[in-house]
Protein backbone atom coordinates (compact mmCIF):
# COMPACT_ATOMS: atom_id res chain seq x y z
CA UNK A 1 0.00 0.00 0.00
CA UNK A 2 0.94 3.62 -0.16
CA UNK A 3 3.11 4.86 2.68
CA UNK A 4 2.01 7.99 4.42
CA UNK A 5 4.43 10.26 6.18
CA UNK A 6 4.18 10.52 9.91
CA UNK A 7 3.59 13.84 11.59
CA UNK A 8 6.73 14.88 13.41
CA UNK A 9 6.68 17.66 15.98
CA UNK A 10 10.16 18.78 14.95
CA UNK A 11 12.14 18.61 11.73
CA UNK A 12 15.73 19.68 11.18
CA UNK A 13 17.19 20.06 7.69
CA UNK A 14 20.30 21.46 6.07
CA UNK A 15 20.03 24.68 4.12
CA UNK A 16 19.39 23.88 0.48
CA UNK A 17 17.72 20.53 1.15
CA UNK A 18 14.05 19.89 0.51
CA UNK A 19 11.69 19.66 3.49
CA UNK A 20 8.53 17.62 3.82
CA UNK A 21 6.09 18.39 6.61
CA UNK A 22 3.18 16.03 7.19
CA UNK A 23 -0.24 16.49 8.69
CA UNK A 24 -3.13 14.13 9.36
CA UNK A 25 -6.55 15.77 9.37
CA UNK A 26 -9.54 14.50 11.26
CA UNK A 27 -12.73 15.23 9.34
CA UNK A 28 -13.35 13.32 6.15
CA UNK A 29 -15.93 15.96 5.18
CA UNK A 30 -13.35 18.78 5.19
CA UNK A 31 -13.06 20.30 1.75
CA UNK A 32 -10.54 23.08 2.14
CA UNK A 33 -7.06 22.98 3.63
CA UNK A 34 -4.47 25.61 4.40
CA UNK A 35 -0.85 25.60 5.46
CA UNK A 36 0.36 28.37 7.75
CA UNK A 37 3.83 29.42 8.86
CA UNK A 38 4.23 30.91 12.32
CA UNK A 39 7.45 32.60 13.34
CA UNK A 40 8.28 33.29 16.95
CA UNK A 41 6.28 36.20 18.34
CA UNK A 42 4.11 36.51 15.25
CA UNK A 43 0.72 35.35 14.10
CA UNK A 44 0.28 32.57 11.53
CA UNK A 45 0.97 33.54 7.93
CA UNK A 46 -0.88 31.96 5.01
CA UNK A 47 1.41 29.89 2.77
CA UNK A 48 -0.73 27.87 0.40
CA UNK A 49 -4.18 26.32 0.22
CA UNK A 50 -5.83 23.42 -1.58
CA UNK A 51 -9.41 22.34 -2.18
CA UNK A 52 -10.54 18.76 -1.92
CA UNK A 53 -11.12 18.46 -5.66
CA UNK A 54 -7.37 18.68 -6.17
CA UNK A 55 -4.54 16.44 -5.01
CA UNK A 56 -1.63 18.76 -5.66
CA UNK A 57 -1.02 22.47 -5.80
CA UNK A 58 2.22 24.33 -6.34
CA UNK A 59 3.34 27.74 -5.23
CA UNK A 60 6.65 29.46 -5.16
CA UNK A 61 9.06 26.87 -3.68
CA UNK A 62 6.15 25.12 -1.94
CA UNK A 63 3.90 22.25 -2.96
CA UNK A 64 0.93 20.89 -1.07
CA UNK A 65 -0.22 17.31 -1.57
CA UNK A 66 -3.60 16.04 -0.46
CA UNK A 67 -4.46 12.36 0.01
CA UNK A 68 -8.13 12.15 0.89
CA UNK A 69 -8.10 8.37 1.13
CA UNK A 70 -5.95 8.47 4.24
CA UNK A 71 -6.78 12.06 5.30
CA UNK A 72 -3.24 13.28 4.89
CA UNK A 73 -1.67 16.54 3.82
CA UNK A 74 1.93 17.33 3.18
CA UNK A 75 3.85 20.53 2.57
CA UNK A 76 7.02 20.32 0.54
CA UNK A 77 9.49 23.19 0.66
CA UNK A 78 12.16 23.20 -2.02
CA UNK A 79 15.69 24.44 -1.35
CA UNK A 80 14.94 25.23 2.28
CA UNK A 81 16.42 28.48 3.56
CA UNK A 82 17.17 29.72 7.10
CA UNK A 83 14.21 32.09 6.78
CA UNK A 84 11.95 29.07 6.50
CA UNK A 85 12.64 28.18 10.14
CA UNK A 86 9.28 28.42 11.91
CA UNK A 87 6.34 26.36 13.17
CA UNK A 88 4.11 25.07 10.39
CA UNK A 89 0.42 24.27 10.91
CA UNK A 90 -2.09 22.67 8.65
CA UNK A 91 -5.73 23.70 9.00
CA UNK A 92 -8.91 22.06 7.72
CA UNK A 93 -12.35 23.50 7.00
CA UNK A 94 -15.49 21.40 6.63
CA UNK A 95 -17.99 22.59 4.01
CA UNK A 96 -20.27 25.48 4.88
CA UNK A 97 -18.24 26.67 7.82
CA UNK A 98 -17.79 30.38 8.02
CA UNK A 99 -14.53 31.79 6.93
CA UNK A 100 -11.90 31.31 9.55
CA UNK A 101 -13.46 28.57 11.58
CA UNK A 102 -10.55 26.34 10.76
CA UNK A 103 -9.38 23.45 12.86
CA UNK A 104 -5.63 23.60 13.22
CA UNK A 105 -3.46 20.50 13.45
CA UNK A 106 -0.44 19.94 15.61
CA UNK A 107 2.44 22.12 14.50
CA UNK A 108 5.81 21.05 13.20
CA UNK A 109 8.83 23.10 14.18
CA UNK A 110 11.20 23.34 11.22
CA UNK A 111 14.82 24.24 11.94
CA UNK A 112 17.12 24.97 9.03
CA UNK A 113 20.81 24.54 9.71
CA UNK A 114 23.16 26.77 7.70
Amino acid sequence: GESVGLHLPTLSVQEGDNSIINCAYSNSASDYFIWYKQESGKGPQFIIDIRSNMDKRQGQRVTVLLNKTVKHLSLQIAATQPGDSAVYFCAENPPDTNAGKSTFGDGTTLTVKP
Binding site: Y32, K42, G43, D49, F89, G100, K101, T103, F104
Partner: protein, 115 residues
Protein backbone atom coordinates in the same frame (compact mmCIF):
# COMPACT_ATOMS: atom_id res chain seq x y z
CA UNK B 1 2.39 48.35 5.38
CA UNK B 2 -0.57 48.42 7.76
CA UNK B 3 -1.45 44.95 8.95
CA UNK B 4 -3.55 43.69 11.82
CA UNK B 5 -2.40 45.18 15.10
CA UNK B 6 -3.14 44.04 18.61
CA UNK B 7 -2.62 45.65 21.98
CA UNK B 8 -1.25 45.15 24.47
CA UNK B 9 1.33 42.69 23.19
CA UNK B 10 1.81 41.30 26.70
CA UNK B 11 -0.54 41.33 29.65
CA UNK B 12 -0.02 39.97 33.12
CA UNK B 13 -3.14 39.73 35.24
CA UNK B 14 -3.75 38.46 38.71
CA UNK B 15 -6.32 35.72 38.98
CA UNK B 16 -9.76 37.26 39.26
CA UNK B 17 -8.93 40.46 37.37
CA UNK B 18 -10.75 41.52 34.22
CA UNK B 19 -8.76 42.14 31.03
CA UNK B 20 -9.54 43.74 27.68
CA UNK B 21 -7.59 42.90 24.54
CA UNK B 22 -7.81 45.10 21.48
CA UNK B 23 -7.62 44.25 17.80
CA UNK B 24 -7.30 46.73 14.95
CA UNK B 25 -8.01 44.87 11.72
CA UNK B 26 -6.82 45.89 8.28
CA UNK B 27 -8.85 48.89 7.19
CA UNK B 28 -11.93 47.89 5.22
CA UNK B 29 -11.81 44.22 6.17
CA UNK B 30 -15.28 42.89 6.76
CA UNK B 31 -14.53 39.74 8.72
CA UNK B 32 -12.75 39.54 12.05
CA UNK B 33 -11.83 36.45 14.06
CA UNK B 34 -10.46 35.76 17.51
CA UNK B 35 -8.40 32.67 18.32
CA UNK B 36 -6.80 31.33 21.46
CA UNK B 37 -3.40 29.65 21.16
CA UNK B 38 -2.04 27.66 24.08
CA UNK B 39 1.69 27.13 24.29
CA UNK B 40 2.90 24.63 21.73
CA UNK B 41 -0.51 24.18 20.12
CA UNK B 42 -2.36 25.44 17.10
CA UNK B 43 -4.83 28.30 17.35
CA UNK B 44 -8.38 27.47 18.38
CA UNK B 45 -11.34 29.44 17.08
CA UNK B 46 -13.18 31.62 19.58
CA UNK B 47 -15.54 33.91 17.70
CA UNK B 48 -16.26 35.58 14.36
CA UNK B 49 -17.67 38.95 13.31
CA UNK B 50 -18.94 40.12 9.98
CA UNK B 51 -18.91 43.89 10.27
CA UNK B 52 -20.47 44.58 13.67
CA UNK B 53 -22.48 41.36 13.79
CA UNK B 54 -21.13 38.50 15.87
CA UNK B 55 -22.13 35.56 13.71
CA UNK B 56 -20.45 32.77 15.62
CA UNK B 57 -19.31 32.63 19.22
CA UNK B 58 -19.34 28.89 19.59
CA UNK B 59 -15.65 28.74 20.51
CA UNK B 60 -15.82 31.03 23.54
CA UNK B 61 -14.87 28.73 26.43
CA UNK B 62 -17.15 30.23 29.06
CA UNK B 63 -19.46 33.13 29.76
CA UNK B 64 -16.48 34.97 31.22
CA UNK B 65 -15.39 35.64 27.63
CA UNK B 66 -17.07 38.41 25.71
CA UNK B 67 -16.20 40.02 22.38
CA UNK B 68 -17.56 43.06 20.63
CA UNK B 69 -17.02 45.05 17.46
CA UNK B 70 -19.52 47.88 17.83
CA UNK B 71 -18.63 49.92 14.74
CA UNK B 72 -17.49 47.09 12.52
CA UNK B 73 -13.81 47.90 12.75
CA UNK B 74 -11.89 47.67 16.06
CA UNK B 75 -12.76 44.69 18.23
CA UNK B 76 -12.25 44.02 21.91
CA UNK B 77 -12.07 40.64 23.60
CA UNK B 78 -12.87 40.89 27.28
CA UNK B 79 -12.19 38.20 29.83
CA UNK B 80 -13.78 38.59 33.23
CA UNK B 81 -12.47 37.08 36.45
CA UNK B 82 -9.41 35.64 34.74
CA UNK B 83 -8.28 32.13 35.66
CA UNK B 84 -4.88 30.51 35.21
CA UNK B 85 -6.22 28.35 32.39
CA UNK B 86 -6.88 31.55 30.43
CA UNK B 87 -3.12 32.02 30.01
CA UNK B 88 -2.49 31.85 26.27
CA UNK B 89 -1.79 33.96 23.22
CA UNK B 90 -4.93 35.59 21.85
CA UNK B 91 -4.77 36.08 18.10
CA UNK B 92 -6.94 38.29 15.98
CA UNK B 93 -7.30 37.88 12.22
CA UNK B 94 -9.20 39.76 9.55
CA UNK B 95 -10.20 39.01 6.00
CA UNK B 96 -11.40 41.19 3.21
CA UNK B 97 -14.87 39.94 2.47
CA UNK B 98 -17.82 38.49 4.26
CA UNK B 99 -18.06 35.56 1.91
CA UNK B 100 -16.32 32.33 2.77
CA UNK B 101 -12.76 33.25 2.02
CA UNK B 102 -9.92 31.89 3.89
CA UNK B 103 -7.07 34.29 3.29
CA UNK B 104 -6.92 35.65 6.77
CA UNK B 105 -4.32 38.08 7.99
CA UNK B 106 -3.26 37.50 11.56
CA UNK B 107 -2.03 40.01 14.09
CA UNK B 108 0.97 39.31 16.33
CA UNK B 109 -1.22 38.29 19.26
CA UNK B 110 -1.51 39.31 22.89
CA UNK B 111 0.24 37.01 25.33
CA UNK B 112 -1.87 36.82 28.48
CA UNK B 113 -0.34 35.42 31.65
CA UNK B 114 -2.61 34.94 34.64
CA UNK B 115 -0.76 34.59 37.94
Amino acid sequence: GAGVSQSPRYKVAKRGQDVALRCDPISGHVSLFWYQQALGQGPEFLTYFQNEAQLDKSGLPSDRFFAERPEGSVSTLKIQRTQQEDSAVYLCASSKTGEPTYEQYFGPGTRLTVT
